[in-house]
Subunit: 539 residues, 2 copies
């Protein structure tokens, strides 16, 4: 698959440079490209214990994204999924280690153990105090004496890093790291493999299957299981973690392996909370992409028992964007719906003349149904007539229950009626027209100006302008001359409606997608409806 | 493609519940499931202007992830890629709007405009002050009168939200939102389409092509272009944005559309910085997944001119994890490599007996090359003999330049020599063995104990234990009795080596992957090498 990279050989240095540029001056790198790729804190003064981690690249934001106050001092980056060299690790150690010493946090892979281990020996030969811990949190392969290090490593970074930031000495920082490693367990599941830069993608996991217990380097999981749902996926993971847990409260990391959508990750958060281990999780870190496997569509859950000290260290804020913080995994609080959600119906009032006018309008629209549908069949889906006629039929039934004696209340009531009985965009737009006209009338505008205010709001929200081949082409000229009488309005509406037949490009609504040839010579059905209404109200 | 969800109908409510549970008590929802899906700030007291946004789901963390102090007050969530209903929007407005009023921030899609617009009318009928702004930042389709709203919407949330948080009134918050909308432009590019929950994936973009100017709902881009590299991709985007930019400094959002790996996003950060618009970008937000299109493998760049006030509001911290902060897009600072990276060679010293012993060891290993290779062919790749013989040949040449008279210096020097001349895991492990033995000798340990310290460090780092079918099975028993003379050590080493032939399960190294049948009856080549060394040193 194509990827956003330049030369494959440069992907790690390009990415490191990008991370440094985007860090706002918080990160620097060693001047050792291309072989030595070390990212370090810009503000580091060697006054405290340094924490150095790293390994192969392809796990971003790990590890460079976690370099900063309270976590790592430096990250040593290898090629994608390959350990950095001894020299690179040594360069990292030498760059950040002062009298307080340095802790190397290494994930349990042979290459990392050896290269970090050898670098530690060379650093010690210079008289530096260097300790090393090996993270082996993966429980996918229970019989293997050397479990892999995966996302649980972040607990070590955060808790040991927090202690170092608070001034802990090398022995206590190392002890904290080992305490976290002792209790941390992780397990992952994926629906698809990752795409290694420059390599063809391996399609290993068939549709409907999930791989359980995969690593973070594209290696196959211990088993492929039938995938049913997010709930079943999380139950499977929780079911494997649960037997290993003690009675202590736990922290959990919900890690996106890279390609899972944020929507799905939130679904998984919910499933984790309601899973058999959910009640024992006090703090949740994530969901977030923290220890990725490039673009893998999967997730992992890591858990760590929380003593009081570790809980404080884990929750201690740190400024790096990649660290999502540790938050209590909580219940769902809800707010009651407002009782205003059901529209208040205005009390009906009598006004014979208005009732008559309204009834007449409805009848005009009902009578126009066939003609308007025919016009709409040319530019749309042929239902403008039916939509307006339905609204007319509904309104005619409820006329006597309307507040006929008050324009402001009446317009609003018509708006409510239309929003409930007339579907689609046109229903919503007419509802907005009448609601805003009601607002205008209520604020003291005269009838014509209130209706014009309604038109303006409808245009703001609908986005159509004069000449866009909509009902506005008839309605706007009509309202503009309404003070000169219904005859003037009708003439203006007709001129506007006829004008739409000359418009060969619609800019709004569905007609925007219709070719000019089809539109030519045909009046817009909305504009025709408006013109007929005004014309027939004269009679 | 399979996805981490349960019932398709529940994906949005499941995800909202997950987001609320993971918010640490910062978020609540309205009690209106399944139709009314509104997420709101838990700490909201209606004392300031409320900001309500939302729209279709599938853009996570937008919009619920941006609900919190300094951004949104509430998010109204529709189905995936579908506008929420009028009632849902109204419920959101009613839940959070106090005397200071409410600003609706709506992306420019017909459904959202209408539903938010109509809800605003209904809220106004209750006497609430409600303004609405329409975000139309997409420049993909320059001729369309109604450009889409995409990731640039986040500038509006942050700047208007910051002003509201600081106590701005509705008019000034609305003016700020409109000012940001006026200047904001966005453009996206993708290498693959997104996977809509429950629908088969459309494979629209062929290998080697990228789609330019796509929306955030899976709709096709304006054109498919040949994709060459991250640099070309960003140059294309920057080239379209540049002509629209003024002389002001700008902020940029680098948005992951969902499925792009973090590694690639960092490469794109670098390319943005060095692009033709890089020098005009003062603040960068991201790279991060902020306005996603489910799992789309793509990115977008949004830019916004930065007046002084807007710059402050954009940079103002806010606590939501989804907001990555706005940081200066900076140069790359580097640190010089330590001059200790080149190992210091100890001065040579003479000691005839030691030189003779070393020479003898080398010759023994060189002579054993063929036999050891044959043994390794059974359990590994057949090169143990050659690896050890090469190291022996290199060492024998340099014997006279070694610090022969000082055990501590000598062991360290041998370690250095091996780390440079002997490849693979075994080279690194032996280098660690000698380096740690040198440390032990330097700290005053006697020869046997120094070598045992070396063994211990090698085991710590390599992870192999007695019985794991490695050289340790011969070396450890030999070192344990070294004080009883070379004869005792040789006998112990031989017993240990022979014992490995009975071990049918290797737990470390490559042999861990070989079947028991193949291993049965064959001595581990590393253990054999150790046994031969001690045996032949006797003679």
């Amino acid at each position: 698959m194509t990827q956003f990279m330049n030369r494959k050989e440069d992907i790690v240095t390009d990415a490191i440079d990008g991370a440094i540029r985007a860090s706002g001056g918080d990160l620097v790198r060693l001047d050792g490209y291309p072989y030595i790729r070390v990212v370090a804190r810009a503000d580091w003064d060697k006054s405290k214990v340094a924490l150095v981690s790293g390994g192969g690249s392809g796990h971003e934001p790990a590890h460079a994204g976690f370099v900063g106050p309270g976590m790592l001092t430096a990250a040593v980056c290898g090629d994608v999924f390959a350990s950095p060299s001894v020299d690179a690790v040594l360069a990292g150690i030498l760059a950040v280690t002062g009298a307080a010493g340095c802790l190397l946090i290494v994930k349990n892979y042979t290459g990392d153990r050896l290269n970090f281990g050898l670098a530690a020996e060379r650093a010690r030969a210079f008289g530096l105090s260097v300790n090393m811990v090996i993270v082996d949190d993966d429980i996918a392969l229970p019989d293997l004496p050397q479990p892999r290090g995966v996302a649980g490593t972040l607990f070590v970074h955060k808790i040991a890093g927090g202690l170092a930031e608070n001034g802990g000495d090398l022995a206590s920082v190392t002890a904290a790291a080992n305490r976290v490693i002792e209790g941390t367990m992780s397990l992952g599941m994926s629906l698809d493999t990752c795409t290694v830069p420059g390599s063809p993608k391996e399609h290993r996991i068939p549709e409907g299957k999930a791989e359980l217990g995969l690593g973070i380097h594209g290696e196959a999981g211990i088993e492929q299981i039938a995938f049913e749902s997010a709930a079943q996926a999380m139950q499977t993971i929780a079911g494997r973690l649960a037997p290993c847990m003690s009675d202590m409260p736990y922290a959990a990391i919900l890690n996106n392996l890279g390609g899972t959508s944020a929507l799905e990750m939130s679904v998984l958060s919910n499933e984790l909370a309601v899973s058999e281990i959910g009640g024992r999780i006090k703090l949740l870190v994530g969901p977030a992409t923290m220890m990725s496997s490039l673009d893998m569509r999967g997730f992992s859950v890591s858990i760590c028992p929380l003593g009081e000290v570790d809980e404080q260290l884990l929750a201690q804020p740190c400024p790096m964007t990649a660290w999502p913080g540790a938050k209590t995994l909580g219940p769902i609080e809800t707010l009651q719906l407002s009782d205003r959600l059901t529209p208040i119906k205005s009390l009906s009032s009598e006004h014979a003349e208005t009732a008559e006018l309204l009834r007449k309008c409805c009848k005009i629209l009902i009578a126009a149904e066939g003609d308007l549908n025919a016009l709409d069949a040319i530019s749309g889906d042929g239902d403008t007539g039916s939509t307006l006629a339905s609204a007319g039929r509904a309104l005619i039934v409820s006329i006597d229950s309307l507040p006929l004696a008050d324009h402001a209340l009446l317009f609003r009531a018509i708006g409510q009626e239309l929003s409930q009985t007339m579907g689609g965009s046109s229903g919503a737009l007419l509802a907005i027209f009448f609601a805003a006209a009601g607002d205008g009338a209520s604020s003291g505008l005269l009838l014509q100006d209130a209706l014009k205010a309604g038109l303006q709001r409808m245009q703001e929200i609908g986005g159509a302008r004069l000449g866009d081949r909509t009902m506005i082409d008839a309605l706007q000229p009509a309202l503009n001359v309404l003070d000169k009488g219904i005859g003037a309005a009708a003439a203006a509406a007709r001129r506007g409606a006829d004008y739409t037949a000359t418009l060969t490009k619609a800019n709004a609504g569905r007609a925007a997608y219709i070719s000019a040839v089809r539109l030519q010579g045909n009046i817009d059905p909305g504009a025709e409806a408006v013109a007929r209404l005004f014309e027939q109200l004269q009679t």
